[in-house]
């Protein structure tokens, strides 16, 4: 092949240096291998953090610059604008703003209640941007300065959202649960069948490794199982859409419909820690509030989810109440027994003391008295 010697000249007399891209291709393959082996951590995370720190302000500035242009495009500017029309527009803007605040308030209230339901310590955050191509991630306006750490779970007002993947001082990147590289330990609520939930490049959710002997029905609610410790148990993920058998014929392969549109979420809760170990007994009134708010997101699924969740919650509440009652009874019985024993001990000790005293009075040596003392001790 002409011109393929090192530094040879091409047709126009310039050196070709064809070997440079070959070397760079080899370096790229090495980088990919290292990145996969280190799972994007180590020096890669540091380099990415530096680049993100540089590019995020540029992104913010560009979005701030483009925002007024968007609003100009949306507003109706006519040549003859009367004073009343102007006032009308201003009022409409105000109403829209207030409506936005009202909806935001509703979402935040629901989220705080959601946090209360699960007994979780959390901080709220706003989604700055999302990427929904090969890489389904979201940038949230909370960072290490707010106590966010890599690996923390993230919830939205309606259910599970993702996990913190990288953190800068003021922002964090959350990998969404429907990303192809995301996996969540989950279970079907009715049958308590555990499995692993995977995302996919097309944004679908798949629950795998559910044993085939477990009964799973379409429309069943899927929640987090709490295994692995990344997420608390009982966070809503979605409902079962289709059930297939995988190639090994040992497990179900279940497609799950998320309860809400994960990509269009605006506010999130970052789970900084759990107050209790894993709260599974839910407050029914609060849960009802969450379901009502979810109704606005996707009305079709709410009936199923409400029934299933409330059934599960009620049965678990009953179980918990029974367990509590049994515990209280056992405690009461134990206290009574202890009191009876103490009374009997008191009676016997006073009797032995009396006999000891009489014996010591009667004998010369204190042997009998010491025995009495031993009896008393016993």
């Amino acid at each position: 092949m002409p011109g393929l010697s090192f530094g040879s000249q091409s047709q126009n007399g310039r050196p070709s240096f064809w070997w440079i891209p070959i070397v760079l291709i080899v370096i790229s393959v090495m980088l990919i291998t290292l990145c996969v082996r280190l799972e994007g951590g180590g020096p890669f995370a540091v380099a990415r953090g530096v680049v993100h720190t540089v590019t995020k302000p540029i992104e913010s500035v560009c979005s701030a610059i483009s925002a007024p242009f968007h609003s100009i495009g949306k507003s109706s500017n006519s040549a003859e604008v009367a004073k009343l029309e102007q006032e009308n527009r201003q009022l409409r803007t105000l109403v829209a703003e207030l409506e936005e605040y009202r909806q935001q308030d509703q979402r935040l209230t629901t989220m705080s209640q959601f946090s209360d339901i699960y007994g979780l310590e959390s901080i709220s955050g706003e989604v700055l941007s999302t990427s929904s191509g090969w890489d389904r991630t979201a940038t949230v306006n909370r960072g290490s300065a707010d106590g966010v750490r890599v690996g923390m779970g993230v919830m939205s007002s309606c259910g599970l959202y993702g996990m913190v993947e990288s953190v800068t001082s003021n922002t964090c990147v959350v990998r969404l649960i429907n990303d192809a590289n995301a996996s969540v330990s989950a279970m079907v609520q009715n049958s308590r069948a555990h499995g692993i939930m995977h995302g996919a490049y097309d944004g679908t959710l798949t629950l795998e490794y559910v044993p085939i002997e477990k009964a799973v029905g379409e429309g069943d609610v899927v929640i987090t199982s709490g295994s692995g410790g990344s997420y608390p148990r009982g966070i809503l993920i979605g409902t079962v859409r289709t059930i297939e058998t995988d190639s090994s014929k040992l497990y179900h392969r279940i497609t799950v419909d998320p309860i809400y549109s994960i990509d269009s979420c605006e506010e999130v809760l970052i789970l900084t820690g759990a107050q209790s170990e894993t709260s599974t007994v839910l407050d029914e009134s609060l849960l009802q509030t969450v379901i009502n708010s979810a109704n606005t997101v996707r009305p079709g699924t709410v009936g199923v989810i409400a029934t299933a969740l409330l059934n599960g919650t009620t049965s678990r509440s009953k179980q918990a109440a029974e367990a509590e009652r049994a515990r209280q009874e056992a405690e009461k019985k134990a206290a009574e027994e202890a009191a009876a024993k103490a009374r009997s001990n008191q009676g016997s000790s006073s009797a032995s003391n009396n006999s000891g005293e009489s014996q010591s009075n009667n004998s010369d040596a204190g042997n009998s008295g010491s025995e009495g003392g031993r009896t008393n001790n016993e």
Partner: protein
Amino acid sequence: MNKPLIYLIVFVLCFLLQAGLSPAIAIAGCAPNFLIIPVLLVALRSGVGAGGVSGFFCGLLYDLMGNGTIGCMALVLTITALAVGFLARGIDITSPVTVIIVALVSSVFSEVGYGIAVMLTSADAVGGMGAIFAHSLPTSLYSAVFAIAALLVCGLFLGYEGAATGAELGKQIGGRATKMPRMKSRLK
């Protein structure tokens, strides 16, 4: 105009557009890749070596700006630059039709190649083929629109000077023989 200076300006502009504008103008999750522009420009105008370096560093920057596996876009853009650099030896790079075809093919190759690289490096490739059609192809067309416009505009500044094609050589031999001694002697 000074060629390295134009390359630098194009690179800085494309970096700013990629960091700031690209997420803002994404349509249905498809954001254009502005960093392919300097790669194609350098590969077409300066050949395989410089194009490869440009492809590697632009790809690495793209990887670091995103959240995927680092090295995937660097690999794909280096290969793209290698192919375009070799191709540029035998075609008329000043023709708008050539620029359009090169930009379109390179863009599709780089986006589909990136998708495949991402799938190969991830644990689970469920829904990957669907995503190539639903995401990679629209993204590549979107990127190609900007790449074509940018390359045509850059062609106005760079003109024929320093281009590496046979068609251009014919034009250069008459007026600028001193710059092309080897080719002139070969033609004689």
